[in-house]
């Protein structure tokens, strides 16, 4: 099968490309970033997904399936550009898929779609609306991209759409928001709060994507592996030091003392849990994780030992 992967040049993209090649697929990558250490056999096109060059790739390659990973999630880059990539890029992927006869499109979204709030339930179901936008408007483009992808279910009946809301990734490549948050020796947390964190090993993330490609489940699905664990435990088991900081001090420290300048709403994500029910995905595809939460934390710790001072 010819599989086109927009946004392939990330660490997760490389893992996915390797696995797809092993399974005998033709892998075609699109990314505006250069794909360093690309696995041999990937046909790489260094173009922006929103530009004409990307459409040419669809036209020439005629992929059977598309796995759309070209969304910008980190909040440091807070610009028009991010909005354009996440919304314009997603739209382009679906339009070209419709025009050039793609059979199956997978949108790789995030479980943070549901937002973190004091009164939000544990283990969100797919039918729940996104609630975090009032306190965290910076996530709006990702939420809109997710909803747009969902609208493809009725907008483009000619192909199957799978919208995945995946929990955090944790593993030896250090890909993802949670892995980045845990990178340093000390991890700042909010004093008096210890939310559950839901994550899975990157190996299982790739498994889930490959399973989606094979099974072509139609609809919107949460993707989760093992149970969530408290943030304090994630910090301890990855060998870091938990530094609890009172809330009002924390908000004033953002952007100073080497802390990233995060929007205030981001704090809700280390205050309240975002956990999802992955039951529907497991039922639709037969997916089962292979590495539990302890395994994922150990793997990260081995690849990223506690930095020495």
């Amino acid at each position: 099968m010819r599989v086109l992967v927009p946004g392939i040049a990330g660490r997760l993209g490389k893992l996915l490309a390797t696995r797809l090649l092993e399974k005998g697929h033709d892998v075609i990558g699109i990314d505006r970033r250069p794909f360093r250490e690309a696995p041999a056999g990937v046909s790489m096109f260094e173009v922006d997904i929103r530009k004409r060059g990307a459409e040419d790739v669809f036209r020439k390659v005629r992929p059977h399936a598309v796995i759309h990973m070209a969304t910008v999630t980190h909040l440091i880059m807070q610009s028009e550009d991010r909005y354009r990539i996440n919304l314009g890029g997603t739209r382009a992927v679906f339009e070209h898929s419709s025009t050039y006869g793609v059979e199956h499109v997978t949108f790789v979204g995030r479980h943070t779609y549901y937002g973190a709030a004091a009164d939000s339930p544990l283990f969100h179901n797919e039918d729940e609306p996104p609630m975090g936008l009032a306190s965290f408007p910076e996530l709006a483009d990702l939420v809109a991209a997710d909803l747009y992808a969902g609208s493809a279910l009725w907008r483009y009946p000619s192909f199957v759409t799978s919208v995945l809301r995946m929990v955090y990734t944790l593993g030896p490549t250090g890909h993802g928001t949670l892995a980045t948050f845990l990178r340093g020796r000390r991890v700042p947390t909010l004093l008096g709060f210890d939310p559950l964190f839901h994550f899975m090993h990157e190996h299982d993330v790739v498994n889930a994507l490959v399973t989606t490609l094979d099974q072509r489940p139609r609809g919107v699905f949460n993707v989760a592996g093992p149970q969530p664990v408290p943030l304090s435990m994630v910090i301890r088991e990855t060998g870091r030091t938990n530094v609890p900081i009172p809330g009002f001090v924390f908000s004033n420290m953002l952007g100073r003392f080497g802390l990233p300048k995060l929007p205030a709403g981001a704090l809700a994500h280390i205050k309240y849990p975002v956990t999802v029910d992955g039951g529907a995905f497991r039922k639709a595809t037969g997916f089962a994780h292979t590495i539990d939460e302890m395994g994922a934390m150990r793997a990260y710790r081995k690849a990223f030992p506690r930095p020495s001072s």
Partner: protein, 277 residues
């Protein structure tokens, strides 16, 4: 945050017998943690067995396994009632059961209270949580009077205020037996003479109960829990309000009868053993 507080031997032994799917670190999917339950239940044991020397009646009505909803009256201005029912299920059931309270929403916003409550199994009182826990064959504690119930003043301590109907609807939908219980003595332990709403606002809680000695520190009075026979309501949970309300009324009447029975027993009157008509 890690507890290094002492854990009682009996608590440790009973924790091992809890039928909860803990992972190798002693944390279940909801975040319920042995590391928190140990010290908290050690403290509760002192209150349950000595300070309040709680007497419980009819615990044989509680099934040792499977989904169940404990439904009772609020008694006392702070969550002494819920804590003692939690302790009763842990110390008096064999195997011990984890009774998970459905907490008021404000609790999750309060530093320390939020993780401690959550790690002990008391999640925010959302229908989604209750339904999910029941589907997982857990035990939940419901006080249908809500915050109105904890706000009862001393003179109203044996009365029942309005019951919400959500619990009955959910019990019907989830085919869950309701075990009604009456909690007695909380009003004497914490005799609320007034509720300071504006002081509460300052701390992010609905109100702060005021006692004759100002703060809501409970007196060491005897508390009682009276469990009754399980009640089961047929249905789907999608019935009209009057159908559900009739079931709510049955539960409320059962609890009122249990309270009467308990009061009579407290004053030494001869009582019949059951309140089931």
């Amino acid at each position: 945050m890690r507890f290094s507080l002492p854990v009682d031997t009996e608590v440790r032994e009973r924790l091992e017998r809890l039928e909860i799917p803990f992972n190798t670190y002693g944390v279940d999917p909801y975040g319920v943690s042995k590391a928190y339950l140990g010290p908290v239940l050690t403290a509760l044991k002192f209150f349950f067995k000595h300070y309040f020397s709680v007497d419980s009646y009819g615990i044989e009505h509680v099934s040792p396994r499977g989904r169940v909803m404990l439904v009772g009256n609020h008694s006392g201005g702070v969550a002494v009632d819920g804590a003692m029912v939690h302790a009763s299920q842990f110390f008096e059931m064999n195997p011990p059961r984890l009774a998970q309270g459905m907490a008021e929403k404000f609790l999750n916003k309060i530093p320390f209270a939020s993780p401690v409550a959550n790690r002990c199994g008391h999640l925010t009182g959302l229908p989604e949580h209750a339904e999910r826990l029941l589907a997982d064959e857990r035990m939940i504690i419901v006080f249908p009077e809500g915050a109105r119930g904890t706000a009862k003043l001393y003179r109203d301590r044996y009365s029942l205020v309005h019951f919400g109907s959500g619990f009955a609807r959910l019990a019907m939908k989830m085919k869950t037996p309701i075990v009604p219980f009456a909690f007695l003595g909380g009003g004497e332990a914490i005799p609320t003479i007034s509720n300071a709403v504006s002081v509460g606002k300052m701390f992010g809680v609905p109100y702060v109960p005021v006692t004759p000695w100002l703060v809501a520190l409970p007196l060491p009075v005897k508390l009682e829990i009276h469990y009754s026979e399980p009640m089961f309501f047929e249905g789907t949970g999608a019935e009209d309000d009057d159908v559900v309300s009739a079931n709510v009324e049955k539960v409320k009447q059962r609890i009122a009868a249990l309270i009467d029975l308990g009061r009579k027993r407290r004053t030494g009157e001869h009582v019949v053993a059951s309140v089931v008509p």
